[in-house]
């Protein structure tokens, strides 16, 4: 019984991880991690600013979607 709950729990957290990565929830964390390791002195933007800049970049550089 405990093993089953653990398995469901593990499956749930894997699913959560997958969705966060696939849809992009985790983008900000990744960016912060990148800044910390590559440019430790650079200021870290807050999440709101990060997403604004992210969409502004897409405005400047549109990418194609397929048919």
């Amino acid at each position: 019984m405990h093993a089953m709950i653990r398995a469901i729990d593990a499956g749930g957290s894997r699913l959560r991880w997958f969705c966060r990565e696939l849809f992009g929830d985790a983008k900000y964390e990744r960016y912060v991690a990148h800044l910390r390791s590559a440019h430790p002195d650079a200021p870290v933007p807050d999440e709101r600013t990060f997403w604004r800049e992210h969409y502004a970049e897409q405005d400047r550089n549109p990418g194609a979607r397929c048919c």
């Binding site: 997958f18 990565e21 696939l22 983008k27 991690a33 969409y55 502004a56 549109p62 194609a64 048919c67």
Partner: protein, 756 residues
């Protein structure tokens, strides 16, 4: 003792960092993995081969008895598995020659935004969501007119030898070049003329593809208050999601997607209620021309609005729906196991009289089913976007080749939806309004007049089906989307809800197709505008500045006018629109594939890898022959039903002779419209084929030059040693898992795609 291939860049890779665990398996370790449980693996592959063979046999040889749709799943999936395991590995071994000791652009150019090391399983989902849209859902529906077998063979065999090869190699070579775009690679490999022709062709093709996708939506929503209401509601839903993400909870994308999905379902259900009310029917019943103008205006506004407000939330919804719909469709076919109603090969296979898309199987089947078997558009995603996210070189095989196999499966399921429909209903829905007159009795006469053995339809049947799905009429609902929707509703009703739920499932299908297409219209307009800005920017530098709003508005208006005029031409075409225009869509998409494959061929030849160049030549020759032949038919065929110019002159002569009706066009005005439309369609055909021939010829010249040149030319970026590790496939092998664990233990903070 391990032997690594150095791949296309001959230079040695600098020594690995002494402090790190290995960043790649050695050849010996991979061979050890391959050899593990050899007997069991051989047995499994024999079983897969046998099951696939049974599937194919049932599809190909069953005559006179009903065929079950489950065999499509077996034939398809088993063939995909074999193609992936053996052919894609062969291509990896002989052409790509990846080297995991080299860092990918995601690693050596990491910037936290567009160059990001991404987990392979996540990237597979990403890439699939970016390549798959409405295309693979529409083409197979129209191609069902030739019978189920030709389409099935082309979808499955085509993807193995052509579509997936293109996607994989474009992704791989772009990754080796820092994620360079197809246009840039064309310029590098083919020189200025070939490169310019490739970029111009991409722009024109983008316009025609957006126009015809928009035509599919117009045809699906015309005279359908339910559809117009629920698809219309997606706009406020997307706006709400955009505002939610920007001001309320930035970054909570999964959360807002779930909210959006629930609202979407509510929109579908409430659409049924609204359509039943008098005011709802009066307000939301729109004709084709009005709808076309709505989409044109929408297209302009959407493309100049900021991404966060409309495009990004729509994208999230699309991704959510795409994955859900594919799982649903596959599960439904497997659980319901519907019977196939269409013949293996219809009587239209080798004639010019086919009613849905004019022309015989060769070449027109191969251009009608573009997405799902070979889609040039994917080359734009496989270069530029995805290659900047790949973690390890070896993963390109599962993402590029494997991603395309999934799209092929979607196309196969769409074909199943069409061929499990009653054939009388199929033809009543897909006969052009010019042929059926748009009336139930006209449709009955049209279907009976086709003279197909065993196919009949009654007026009662047609009105009953229309009532079941909550539509005024299902006669001449061309374009593929309504037929797919009915086919899906027909299968799903046996799984959930019965006949009472058919209206919901029908409008659910219309909804997701419209969602995919409106996203593609928005994004396609933006990309086309961007390319135009770039081109005009060479002459008037101010236009290249993306933040100069008047420049953005002017170029957007030009691109919207370009596809909008083709759309208006399609909806007002006296000959029916989709059946004359759809071949242009397929031809355009396949010509883009020819261009992409020509660039790949030039790259492989430059490496002096002539021995295995056939892997690229085969699909290139196939698509070149198909599209150039199809273009020639469209340009030169003396049969007015096929040749644009033949039709053009037939109508001009009729007008000159003072006739007031010709064929299905009544009145001088309609006849003049045909004269104008055929001239535009004919001119576009000439433009496409000329550009594609220029690109192919410059690629062949590049190959011949490489043959003569004494040494291999390498246009890839110089190698940088990798400092990360991840397995190649979706599932890790024993040695891969061992190495992964070692990384986790020794380098817990190393650059990794997975969070903690």
């Amino acid at each position: 003792m391990s032997q690594h291939r150095t791949g296309e860049s001959g230079g040695p890779i600098p020594d690995e960092d002494a402090g790190l665990p290995p960043v790649a398996l050695t050849d010996a370790e991979r061979a050890e993995d391959d050899g593990r449980r050899r007997g069991l693996k051989i047995a499994i592959w024999i079983a897969v081969g046998l099951l696939g063979a049974v599937g194919w046999t049932m599809l190909a040889l069953a005559r006179g008895e009903t065929v079950n749709a489950i065999w499509f799943v077996f034939a398809g999936v088993c063939t995909y598995l074999i193609g992936y395991r053996f052919y894609s590995k062969f291509i990896e071994w002989k052409i790509a020659r990846p080297d995991d000791r080299r860092a990918t652009p995601a690693e050596y150019r990491a910037n936290g935004s567009d160059y990001v090391v991404t987990d392979r399983r996540v990237l597979y989902g990403h890439h699939f969501a970016a390549i798959a849209g409405a295309g693979p859902l529409v083409g197979p529906i129209l191609a069902a007119q030739w019978g189920f077998l030709p389409g099935t063979i082309w979808i499955i065999v085509g993807v193995i030898v052509a579509g997936a090869v293109q996607d994989y190699l474009v992704l791989y070579f772009s990754m080796r070049r820092g994620g360079r775009s197809l246009g840039q690679m064309a310029r590098d490999q083919l020189g200025r003329i070939g490169g310019t022709a490739a970029i111009l062709a991409t722009l024109v093709i983008m316009v025609i593809i957006v126009a015809i996708l928009a035509l599919v939506v117009v045809n699906a929503l015309a005279e359908s208050p339910w559809g117009v209401f629920s698809v219309g509601l997606t706009i406020p839903i997307a706006l709400f999601m955009g505002v939610y993400l920007r001001y309320l909870r930035p970054g909570r994308i999964t959360e807002v997607s779930i909210i959006g999905f629930v609202l979407l379902m509510a929109a579908i259900i409430s659409g049924g209620w609204v359509a039943e009310t008098e005011w709802g029917a009066a307000l939301f019943t729109l004709d084709k021309t009005t709808l076309a103008w709505c989409i044109i205006i929408y297209g302009f506004i959407a493309a100049v609005l900021p991404v966060w407000l409309l495009l990004a939330p729509r994208d999230y919804l699309s991704t959510f729906m795409k994955i859900g719909v594919i799982l649903l469709l596959a599960a439904a076919v497997i659980l319901v196991m519907p019977n196939v109603e269409a013949p293996a090969l219809s009587q239209f296979a080798f004639t010019d009289t086919a009613p849905v898309v004019t022309g015989s199987i060769f070449p027109f089947l191969f251009v009608t089913i573009a997405c799902g078997a070979l889609s040039g558009f994917h080359a734009l995603i496989s270069s530029g976007t995805t290659p900047k996210l790949v973690q390890k070189e070896r993963q390109t095989r599962v993402i590029g080749y494997g991603g395309m196999l999934m799209e092929s499966f979607v196309a196969l399921m769409a074909l199943v939806a069409a061929v499990t429909l009653d054939q009388g209903i199929y033809y009543a829905m897909n006969g052009s309004a010019a042929a059926t007159g748009g009336t139930v009795q006209g449709a009955v006469d049209f279907v009976m007049g086709l003279g197909i053995a065993g196919v009949d339809v009654t007026a009662q049947q047609l009105t009953d089906v229309a009532a079941a799905v909550g539509e005024e009429s299902i006669v001449s609902r061309t374009g593929g989307a309504p037929t797919l929707a009915l086919g899906l509703a027909n299968i799903m009703k046996d799984l959930i809800g019965g006949t009472a739920m058919m209206g919901f499932w029908y409008h659910f299908a219309i909804m997701f197709e419209a969602l995919f297409i409106l996203t593609a219209v928005d994004a396609g307009t933006r990309v086309a505008r961007f390319m135009l800005q770039d081109s005009i920017g060479n002459v008037v530098p101010k236009f290249a500045d993306n933040s100069w709003r008047p420049g953005v508005w002017i170029t957007t208006a030009i691109m919207v006018a370009a596809w909008g005029s083709i759309l208006i031409m399609g909806v007002t075409d006296p000959l029916g629109g989709i059946n004359t225009l759809f071949p242009l869509f397929g031809i355009a998409n396949q010509l883009l594939a020819a261009i992409a494959l020509a660039v790949v061929m030039a790259i492989v030849a430059a490496q002096k890898n002539f021995r295995y160049l056939w892997v690229v030549i085969v699909p290139l020759a196939l698509t070149a022959v198909v599209t150039i032949t199809a273009s020639m038919y469209k340009i030169f065929s003396p049969n007015p039903a096929i040749g644009y110019w033949a039709n053009h002159f037939a109508f001009r002569d009729a007008l000159a002779a003072g006739e007031t009706s010709h064929g299905t066009a009544e009145g001088v005005e309609a006849m003049s419209a045909v004269v104008r439309n055929t001239a535009i369609q004919g001119a576009l055909s000439i433009l496409f084929v000329t550009l594609a021939i220029i690109v192919i010829v410059t690629a062949v010249v590049a190959v011949l030059r490489s043959r003569r040149s004494p040494e291999a030319v390498d246009t890839s970026d110089p190698p940088v040693p990798s400092r990360t590790y991840a397995p190649a496939g979706i599932f890790a092998t024993v040695n891969e898992r061992r190495l992964e664990r070692r990384w986790a233990e020794e380098q817990p903070d190393a650059l990794r795609a997975r969070g903690h």
